[in-house]
Symmetry: C2
Subunit: 104 residues, 2 copies
């Protein structure tokens, strides 16, 4: 949920690729595994970390678990960027406004 968890979760290329795949739409763990040369437990562990960072959610359906992006999951990352508006005075004020709109 915090910045460290989010940065850490996204610092792994496989995990970032999984997240990006989910950004294109809901997938179950088996579908997510396709294309990665990695074991089923590895994907399961990556999903647990993404979930722990608040970036994805799961929806159980029988023996399948469908994963999808948590819509506001990246919000702490946006906030962190915004907090640098001291350094990018005008630029990030605009970003701030944009992010506020996104919340609606």
């Amino acid at each position: 949920m915090n910045e460290t968890d989010i940065f850490r979760a996204l610092s792994d290329p496989t995990r970032r690729a999984v997240f990006e795949k989910l950004a294109a739409g809901e997938r179950n763990a088996t579908e997510l595994r396709e294309g990665f040369g990695v074991s089923q437990p590895a994907i399961s562990q990556h999903l647990a970390i993404l979930r722990g960072a608040g970036l994805i959610r799961e929806r159980r359906a029988g023996r399948h678990v469908h994963y999808s992006v948590e819509p506001d999951g990246l919000e702490p990352l946006f906030s962190w960027i915004e907090r640098h508006r001291a350094f990018w005075p005008a630029r990030v004020d605009r970003l701030k406004d944009l992010l506020r709109e996104m919340d609606q």
Copy 2:
């Protein structure tokens, strides 16, 4: 320079705090060390990682080395966010425009 390096560099709380301190203005290694209960080599190593990720730059002045934020260092992170416009269709199209402006 790539996304992985940037996410990794920012995933450490101490390193993120150093970066944030630099966002407030140029500092040398000794000044940066203040407030962290950490050895001089530790800070030096953190700075090397931030530098390797393209997030900070250094300016040598005698026996001092002054560090500052690399203005476009976070650009790959912004681009990565932007690349999710498939998921936030309208929202991120706006962000895209904003980032284009920022490039000018």
